[in-house]
Amino acid sequence: MVGWEFPPFHTGGLGVHSQEISREIARLGHTVVFLTPFALPYDGAPGVTFRSPDDDTPVPPGYPSTYRIEEGARTGFLTVIERYNHWVGQLRLAGVNVVHVHDWFGTEGARDLAHRLNVPLVMTIHSTELDRSLGHPYTAIYDREKLGFEAATRIIAVSRHLADQVAQVYRADRRKIRVVYNAVRPPDEGPIVRREGGVVLFLGRLTAMKGPDTFLRAAARIAPQFPDVRFAIAGEGPEYAHLVRLSVQLGIGDRVLFFGKISDEERSAILRDAAVFVLPSVVEPFGIVALEAMAAGVPTIVSKTSGVAEVIRSTFQVDFWDVDEFASRMAELLEYAPLREEMSEHAQREATQEGWPDRARQTVEVYREAIREYREGR
């Protein structure tokens, strides 16, 4: 597996997916060699081994901020990418049946490796550069995505929405795209009874793509009617200062809590404690965090275009631009207890119905298809 980030050193769905899918594929009896540019103490699992370039690759500034290349870090960052790809491409490995690359980081090396080992390449796309840049892609990344889509025998997208984009915008061959959704581990504890009032939560990177300003604008619309409710923003990112200013401008400066970067432990506690979770993303290839919230029994409002909206029916789904509708949905969940309870119960069931073991089986099935086709194609 040609990866990038891996827990506990991760920022998003890519890291979670890499870990869970590696662990479960290994549990099915396969051997997983996980390649990453950085030699770090990862949370591994039996049957999963890590390899990274022998030289001491410098960790790029701001690491593990993989989703946005900060100004000034570009040169260093791309040096890491180039070295990583070169290293992957010439790596000596025996007994490999399939090379599986995640996102754009290692596509070039993965392609060379698969070619040299004479095995098929599978590529999972978690999010695209086009989406992350809101339509203004960084060419070096975009090109590596295209390269991967073309070289892969099978492409796995984490939602149907993403699959459509890969086919339509990146012009990848639709016949080789499969959808394998993300999942969530069932929480250790059952649903907790929430007190009245409570917290409406946003959790994610503070970038325009995640729509945190929509969250604040919606909060401001209903804050006067719900004096006991607080609105919390957990996460960090380039929009932080802007959001603090915005909350003051909207007159809800005293009602919004900014948690900043949170630990995994804090994350699950905050999620479980929320009265309502909101995922107002402009672009959201999947949105594992919404699935986590639902698995914890928190009623959830998501953007219609998010991948998670394809899997879960027991949510409110809203157009990402519709501030009044987000506001109304928040208010309705805060106001009507039977609504909260019914939605919580059913969302929890839906969110945990299919887990990572199912996703691993679906992934292995894609490997089998790829191997069959690769052999026939020669």
Binding site: S314, Y336, L339, E342
Partner: protein, 394 residues
């Protein structure tokens, strides 16, 4: 043996999206143009062609008879969207071989509300039927064919001769639905739906996975001839013909082919529900808990099965007390339109998957949560209006 074909016509006033932020805005709750669009579509596919067939059958077969119920909200929409549908019903009624059935004007669960709501709604419906068709029904049905001893008692008090009910084993034990029964008090006649034979047409007709597919009029008449009893109640939604089952399935041709097949067997006679409730009674029937014709369990679970549904109905009941104190007709009408059972049906979540599919088919929302939140917003707005009406501005 009597064959009582009874078809039910109903359309609810569906709500527009009424957001929490719309409270107090004066925005109307009901999306009139959308409701009328839906009505026109169904009129085109179902009401017109099916009524034309039925009128043709009345002309051609002097023995052919049937019965209809049309809710008040259906009649309102028909008057606005497709008055020619009502002309067709008038033509059928003029034959004097078509009986109309009384019910609550708003297709509501008013039997669960404090009096006099139920009686007022039934009387509203009777008045409307007299205005539109000049007819006074002798048989009553409750919304969704709900039946209980109390409902039969109520029907008796209002002077109805008979009530329609589901021929469900839960109420009959091992007795057959194909006889006429009598209610526990007041001796009101209870005419039962044979749900197997009714659902063969209403649900299974176009099901290619059904081992009796395709169903022909000949085969169906043969089944009827094998059925022992005095009377068979074939009760179903009018929309079975052309809407739930599109014309392309052959359902309309099946309807047209049925009377000639029935005519071949000399012991069969079509009967209106008014004719069918005359005749010897096979015994008494007692139903304490309300029994409906919906879902696998035949209880009220389809409308009041989960906490959202129960809390919404409870909220409607409470709002009713305020509405009754006030004098504003518009508030009163809106409240009653919100009583229509369909609104609660849309909030259904649990249940067997087969039922959930049926619920989704009939729902005008993407989810039961949408349905509930929207309903509660409208109802809370209505409460505000009712209260404003009570306290004059100073």
């Amino acid at each position: 043996m009597k064959l009582a074909l009874y078809l039910h016509m109903h359309q609810p006033w569906r709500l527009a999206r009424f957001r929490y932020l719309d409270l107090g805005s004066g925005k109307p709750y009901f999306d009139i143009p959308r409701n009328l669009d839906i009505f026109r579509g169904i009129a085109e596919r179902c009401y017109r062609p099916t009524l034309d067939r039925l009128i043709e059958l009345l002309d051609r077969y002097p023995d052919f008879r049937f019965s209809l119920s049309l809710t008040g909200t259906f009649l309102e929409q028909a008057e606005m969207a497709a008055p020619d549908v009502l002309d067709r019903v008038r033509t059928a009624v003029k034959s004097e071989r078509v009986a109309l059935v009384a019910e609550t004007y708003y297709h509501s669960l008013a039997f669960l509300l404090p009096p006099p709501e139920l009686e007022e709604e039934v009387r509203l419906h009777l008045r409307k039927l007299r205005e539109v068709f000049g007819v006074l029904p002798k048989v009553m049905r409750m919304t969704e064919l709900v039946y209980s001893d109390a409902i039969a008692h109520f029907a008796g008090q209002l002077g109805f001769q008979g009530v329609l009910a589901e021929g469900w084993e839960g109420a009959l034990g091992n007795r057959s639905p194909n006889y006429l029964y009598e209610s526990r008090t007041r001796g009101v006649r209870v005419l039962l739906r044979n749900y197997r034979l009714s659902d063969d047409i209403a649900f299974r007709f176009s099901n290619r996975g059904w081992n009796e597919y395709p169903l022909t009029a000949e085969k169906y008449a043969h089944w009827l001839s094998q059925t022992p009893g005095d009377v068979v109640g074939l009760f179903m939604d009018f929309e079975t013909f052309g809407e739930h089952q599109p014309a392309s399935t052959g359902i309309l041709d099946f309807l047209s082919a049925l009377p000639p097949e029935i005519a071949k067997a000399p012991h069969f006679h079509w009967a209106t529900v008014e004719e069918a409730v005359q005749g010897p009674v096979a015994g008494g029937v007692s139903v304490e808990e309300p029994m409906s014709w919906a879902d696998e369990r035949r209880d009220l679970g389809a409308w009041l099965g989960n906490d959202m549904q129960r809390s919404a109905f409870e909220a409607a009941r409470k709002a009713g007390s305020l509405v009754r104190l006030g004098k504003d007709d518009a508030v009163w009408t809106d409240w009653r339109r919100l009583l229509t059972s369909d609104h609660f049906y849309y909030m259904y979540v649990e249940g067997q998957e087969s039922d959930a599919d049926v619920h989704r088919y009939f729902s005008s929302y993407t989810s039961p949560y949408d349905a509930y939140a929207n309903y509660m917003n409208a109802l809370n707005d209505l409460r505000r209006r009712a209260v404003r009406d009570l306290s004059p501005p100073t």
